[in-house]
Amino acid sequence: MQEPNAETVATSPEAVARHLAGSRYLADDSLATAIFLAIRLGKPLLLEGAPGVGKTEAAKAIAQLLGRDLVRLQCYEGIDAAHALYEWNYQRQLLAIRHAGEHEIDIYDDRFLIARPLLQVLRAPEQRVLLVDEIDRSDHEFEALLLEFLSDFQISIPERGTIRAEAQPIVILTSNRTRELAEALRRRCVYHWIGYPDAEREAAIIMLRAGDVAETTARAVAAAVQEIRVRPLAKPPGISEAVEWANAATILEKGGSPWPQAFRRAIGVLIKDEEDLSAIAPELGQIVEEALG
């Protein structure tokens, strides 16, 4: 079967939204438009938003809709070129020098080069989807290092020269906004801020993602989670926590717990901070009752 072409899938924002829904990801009009533009303009897509709103899931869904492999680069403090671009296999180089004796060898040969995610993506014969996850966790220097890659889809290896992409990758960057990103990075990307979905969309996401959850349960969970998120919690629940809550409550209900009690007993999968739990506990009964309404 022929692989779908990015341009044939992304004919319009509506088509992108439709294809994403096929990959079990519900995108609103704004996100679908941003994905459509990123694909058609050939630019990286920068997704920012609170933890748990579905940024990484969006990247996975894009890879799925395009039928491409996803290469993930998880960022962290201290990540550098050796972790993201390439590294020389020094042990093998040393052994090769020793074995070569008087003969001349090229220690910068391909067999000594360890390709890290960015180089893997560039050298792949087919288009890949690259996810640079949580770029805000990396240092400013790493952000600067990415600029060449993001603007021209190429990297320079001093010993080998410049390597250009054989098939231009689709790049998605995510950020939880724990720090501000450089303007230079932002302007190279198509940008989208993902907020928490409204109750209706969240209910639809729960229906799509959860295993065996009734529509009324999904709606009740979505309504209760919206109510819980407006409170000043240390860790507001994300969408995946809402899905888990709906699943857990359904299992408990099938095991014999009546509805409000099933929700209250399953709260541990929604709120994962002890202080948040004690803050929400006195009001939880009322929130659930109203949501079940």
Partner: protein, 378 residues
């Protein structure tokens, strides 16, 4: 001479919009304007909504200026009149902070000894700062090296006590034609911890807020990573304003951002609002956190206690500098202070710039916990 190409007439509104944004200090690069017009073409456009989506995706306004961006868009493309752009709050803060409605309901019922000077009523006003020499130059210069340090995951070259750096060692070997010179070593780098200063701008702190803002400006200028917030009845991040090198300009810009000068205090709820925004609470993680406030929380201090406990769990060191401690007879006897004392690493005199700068410069040195010191005093 090469004849300059002319752009189609239809592109004029888009170019004008980019110019308008630049006039209002939005960073819009020429390549973004090209992408904007390409995006509009790709989307049809079928409606104004398409143009708006194209503008948001390609011109990438920062989330905290999104409201301002939208106002300019409406003004330019819909002709809605002059947009209001002053003192915009961070979107996330607005969602989490209830604006003091809970406190207003119970205001009349609450009384507490020591809280007479404080109020939770919101009073919005503006503030001007006088030009003077702050004498904070030495503080600025010493700050970066005086802050507590931690080991980073980044490494630096070292001559002893490090791990073998194979990359550099191999380069040496190759350049020495296979001879093995002394090995190159690397060690994990030490970096200064973040500095987070939360400044109380309520009425009871009126005499000190000007000095505190000067300290905040010096901290942003001197430290690698410093974040400054103000709180009274609201929470406002003023770090970006204080990044301007000229102190008077920076303070004037910060003054315009803060709406709740000299009003009431809702210390507990505003600190909880700070903690509930992941982006903000990340500033506190592993940081030296200094709260400049008299901590006179009127009424119930449960929120303040919760907030301080959470801050203390996140921070490397949590300090409260109160001007009341400038009085030699001061004791932490109010219920709020007694409740938060176990969570504090330091409870110090915040009545003068001199004592504050000395304290900030001593943050790297260990000190007994605040509760131990004040138990001895009382």
């Amino acid at each position: 001479m090469m004849r300059q190409g002319t752009l189609p007439l239809a592109s004029a509104p888009f170019l004008d919009f980019a110019r308008l944004l630049r006039r209002h200090a939005f960073a819009v690069a020429p390549e973004q304007v090209c992408s904007f017009m390409q995006a509009v073409t790709l989307l049809g456009p079928r409606s104004m909504a398409d143009i708006r989506e194209a503008a948001l995706a390609t011109l990438a306004p920062p989330p905290d200026r999104r409201g301002e961006f939208e106002a300019h868009f409406r003004d330019h493309f819909h002709g809605d009149g002059q947009p209001s752009v002053e003192g915009e709050e961070d979107e996330e803060t607005r969602i989490k902070d209830d604006g003091g409605t809970r406190e207003k309901e119970s205001e009349t019922m609450r009384q507490e000894k020591g809280g007479e000077l404080s109020s939770a009523i919101e009073q919005l006003s503006s503030r001007d700062f006088l030009r003077d020499d702050d004498g904070l130059g030495p503080f600025r210069r010493k700050l970066a090296s005086a802050l507590p340090a931690r080991r980073s995951f980044r490494t630096v070259r070292t001559h002893s006590r490090g791990k073998l750096d194979l990359r550099r060692s191999l380069r040496e070997i190759v350049s020495a034609d296979g001879d093995i010179p002394s090995p190159q070593l690397r060690r994990r780098q030490t970096v200064a911890r973040k500095l987070l200063i939360l400044i109380d701008v309520s009425g009871s702190m009126k005499l000190h807020t000007a000095d505190y803002l000067k300290l905040g400006h010096a901290a942003v200028q001197g430290a690698d990573r410093a974040e400054i917030f103000t709180f009274g009845t609201r929470l406002t991040r003023i770090t970006s304003a204080l990044r301007i090198r000229d102190r008077d300009q920076a303070l004037a810009r910060a003054a315009a951002l803060v709406d709740d000068w000299d009003g009431g205090t809702r210390m507990g709820p505003t600190l909880l609002a700070f903690l509930s925004v992941p982006r903000f609470s990340a500033f506190a993680r592993g940081a030296a956190v200094i709260i400049l406030s008299d901590a006179l929380e009127r009424g119930d201090h449960a929120d303040l206690e919760t907030a301080m406990r959470r801050l203390s769990a996140r921070a490397f060191r949590l300090s409260l500098a109160t001007p009341l401690a400038g009085d030699p007879r001061f004791l932490p006897t109010t219920a709020a202070l007694r409740a938060i004392l176990p969570d504090l690493d330091d409870l110090i005199d915040g009545s003068s710039l001199g004592s504050l700068t000395d304290f900030v410069l001593s943050l790297a040195r260990p000190a007994p916990a605040a509760s131990a010191i004040w138990k001895r005093v009382s």
